[in-house]
């Protein structure tokens, strides 16, 4: 069971993707992604709608397994271990690699129970341990001061930004190494967005973060590295389009935004399409 963590040589990269193809049923969604995600850095995935950036993100913690018909080819290597090897349990992967979703999705439970959800899944029941864990996680998500007196209140009673920070606190309660964020700010106002971005800058001191974003300024503000995905198109003999995503360019954020290697990247960043 400890396959995911035991073989963790202090490699240079947190996650390495090698020749990753993702299919939904018979349709190719993303083709041949090769990407090295740096430890304790923020990596942003950008690109137009339908380019497969969320699909790649979800393949990093095997969330795609939950979609009927989804299939991942190639290797996703995490701490030296291929996550898609037959002896790896997806449940363990998701517990090591946390995820924050586009729409804040606190459970219809109290704030306390939301945070304690992950530890309780593992069978941790002791009130003292849980109390301590809840406090540490909420502090880690900069939410403690706002909710410390309302831990019994429903997570759904919080504002949108607070809900998203609750979801982040819930994820870090699991003590993951890596946190995946799928457009975490797309439903938030600028002030709440700023709070999340500040939080990310703090979290990256401990965790590797991968974030999907539609907001180019956000990528520029927070990300150390940026991966730009694009769409390839082929017209089939019957006249229909076949579209799939590819990783078009990857590098340091500054380089991607200031000296993009390809014209396509430049046009996207310049707001010409997407």
């Amino acid at each position: 069971m400890s396959a995911v963590r035991a073989t963790s040589p202090a490699g240079a990269y947190a996650i390495e993707l090698r020749n990753v193809n993702v299919y939904y049923g018979a349709n190719l969604a993303v083709q041949n992604v090769n990407l090295n995600i740096q430890r304790q850095k923020i990596t942003a995935f950008i690109g137009p709608s339908g380019c497969g950036k969320s699909t790649v993100l979800r393949s990093l913690n095997r969330m795609n397994d939950l979609i009927a018909g989804a299939r991942v080819e190639g290797d996703v290597i995490y701490n030296g271990q291929n996550l898609y090897a037959p002896n790896v349990d997806a449940v363990e992967v998701r517990r090591r690699i946390g995820m924050v979703f586009q729409k804040a999705n606190p459970f219809p439970k109290s704030i306390y129970d939301n945070i304690a959800y992950g530890p309780r899944l593992l069978g941790i029941r002791g009130k003292k341990q849980l109390d301590e864990l809840v406090e540490r996680s909420l502090k880690g998500a900069f939410l403690w001061d706002e909710v410390r007196n309302d831990l019994k209140k429903s997570g759904l009673a919080l504002s949108g930004g607070q809900q998203q920070r609750l979801c982040i606190a819930r994820a870090i309660a699991n003590e993951p190494d890596t946190i995946l964020m799928d457009e975490p700010c797309s439903a938030l106002d600028p002030i709440a967005t700023q709070a999340i971005e500040e939080l990310m800058q703090e979290l990256v001191k401990k965790y590797t973060i991968v974030i999907v974003t539609h907001n180019m300024q956000q990528a520029q503000r927070v990300a150390d590295f940026t991966a730009f995905y694009s769409i390839r198109k082929e017209v089939l003999p019957d006249g229909k389009d076949k579209r799939w995503g590819v990783l078009a360019e990857y590098g340091q954020t500054q380089q991607i935004f200031e000296h993009p290697a390809s014209e396509e990247t430049e046009r996207y960043i310049g707001g010409e399409f997407g």
Partner: protein, 464 residues
């Protein structure tokens, strides 16, 4: 606004869109149409409401009103103020002894003997009444060899006072209802009733009184062939037994099937399993529309006949299993809808934290779906309470005096009793049937209210 109205046919689409007069004209027509529909909806509601009122009126009209009653023995002569329930067991048995000493063995048989009635008189007492307290020296005798005093002693020792009161009321006082009047007649036609009573019935010593067919005695007495003394106790108990067992069987199976279909079947590795699940799902939807009598035939064939060694034949458990089959589709479909209504973001959140599928179902999906699941259960329960046809087919007793004591007892239920009474020629039985319907409705309301309270609790727990 005196714009001239032009013929729309001569206008271009842009002109039509911009034409003020045309717009106003159209707007009036649109509002008119809307109002017309609104009137129709109101009418529909009014008709539904009237139908309900008519139904209620019909039942209440029959269940209350004047009756003219005659007694074989006037209760006033038996007890002070005619109040039999104040008498002791000994006094009650004494009344039986003086009035009907030759019928005591019949009461022993009806109330204390559990076996085949035709065998009763030939068995020695210790065998016929193995659990009863018997007077000394009577154990080896048959009931015919006992003196009336010994028989009376058996009644005193083994029946409680309430049972004895009902025996005396039904058998000695033996009220017979000569004529009944509806509530409407009783209210608006009192003088005519009074006159009819004086002319035709007063001379026989009959009594005219206002009578509620729903009363304590009606609820606490077993059935009787005398409409004035009949009651619904056995049927109430039968109904409760059947409904509770039905829910206990159908709820876990139905919710389990719904969970599998919604949460597991589409993720089966084996595509054959997934395909079979889809076929089953389609069939469940069709099963919900199958006439209940067909479930009765199924229950008769399987639970009453084939499994008779386990179910004991025409028993409560057979009825509950049949009813459970009948309401399973309702529970499954509603539970499926409720489970499907749980946002997938909740499941993603749970899986993303490293929950297994079962943990996600148990901790996230089921609590959120519970109110909806309970709604389906309430619907199923209401159906089980009111359903008659399948129980008639599987052979619920139409006349039974002993209360059900467990899942393997013979039984009857309220709807069957009501059905049975309404098909009798005597008017008093139809009035008793109306009272039975009122009792049935009250039970239904109590069961539903309980379920709704449970559901509200679940909702509130989710919201807080």
């Amino acid at each position: 606004m005196a714009t001239e109205i032009r013929d729309p046919k001569t206008m271009s689409t842009v002109e039509m869109m911009k034409d003020e007069a045309l717009f106003r004209q159209g707007l009036r027509a649109r509002h008119r149409r809307g109002t017309l529909w609104k009137r129709f909806f109101q009418l529909a509601l009014a008709i539904a409401f009237l139908a309900l009122i008519a139904l209620f009126f019909n039942i209440v009209n029959a269940a209350f009103g004047y009756i003219i009653e005659n007694y074989a023995v006037d209760p006033q002569t038996l007890a002070p103020d005619g109040d039999l329930s104040a008498l002791s067991e000994e006094a009650l048995v004494d009344i039986l002894l003086t009035n009907q000493s030759n019928r005591l063995p019949v009461y022993i048989r009806d109330y204390l003997f559990a076996g085949d009635a035709s065998q009763f008189t030939s068995q020695p007492m210790y065998q016929a009444l193995p659990n009863a307290t018997l007077p000394e020296g009577t154990a080896d005798l048959t009931v015919r060899d006992l003196t009336p005093e010994q028989q009376a002693q058996i009644l005193i020792d083994n029946m409680d006072q309430r049972q004895l009161v009902s025996v005396v009321e039904a058998q000695v006082v033996s009220p017979s209802v000569l004529k009944t009047y509806s509530l409407m007649e009783s209210i608006f036609n009192r003088a005519a009733i009074e006159q009819e009573y004086q002319e035709q019935f007063a001379a026989q010593g009959a009594v005219l009184r206002f009578y509620s067919w729903v009363n304590i005695d009606f609820i606490t007495s077993p059935m009787s062939s005398n409409p004035a003394a009949t009651g619904v106790r056995t049927a109430i108990q039968g109904t409760l037994w059947v409904v509770v067992l039905t829910i206990l069987i159908a709820f876990p199976i139905g919710v389990g099937a719904a969970i599998y279909l919604e949460e597991y079947s589409s993720h089966e590795e084996n595509s054959l399993t997934a395909r079979i699940s889809r076929i089953i799902e389609t069939n469940i939807r069709n099963l919900a529309g199958v006439p209940s009598i067909i479930y009765g035939l199924l229950g008769l064939a399987i639970f009453v006949r084939v499994l008779s060694d386990i179910t004991g034949g025409r028993t409560i458990i057979s009825a509950s299993l049949t009813m459970a089959l009948l309401i399973l589709p309702v529970i499954i479909i509603n539970a499926q809808e409720a489970i499907r209504a749980v946002p997938s973001s909740m499941r993603d959140g749970s899986f993303g934290l490293g929950a297994t599928r079962w943990q996600t179902v148990y901790k996230i999906v089921l609590p959120s779906a519970l109110p909806g699941i309970l709604t389906g259960t309430i619907l199923g329960m209401s159906r089980a309470v009111g359903e008659t046809a399948p129980l008639i087919i599987i052979g619920a007793s139409t006349f039974i005096l002993t209360d059900p004591s467990g899942p393997l007892s013979k039984f009857t239920v309220l709807p069957i009793l009501v059905y049975n009474w309404t098909s009798r020629p005597q008017q008093p039985f139809r009035d008793a049937a109306a009272a039975g319907i009122i009792v049935l409705l009250i039970i239904l309301l109590i069961l539903n209210a309980t379920a709704i309270i449970v559901r509200q609790r679940a909702r509130r727990r989710l919201a807080s």
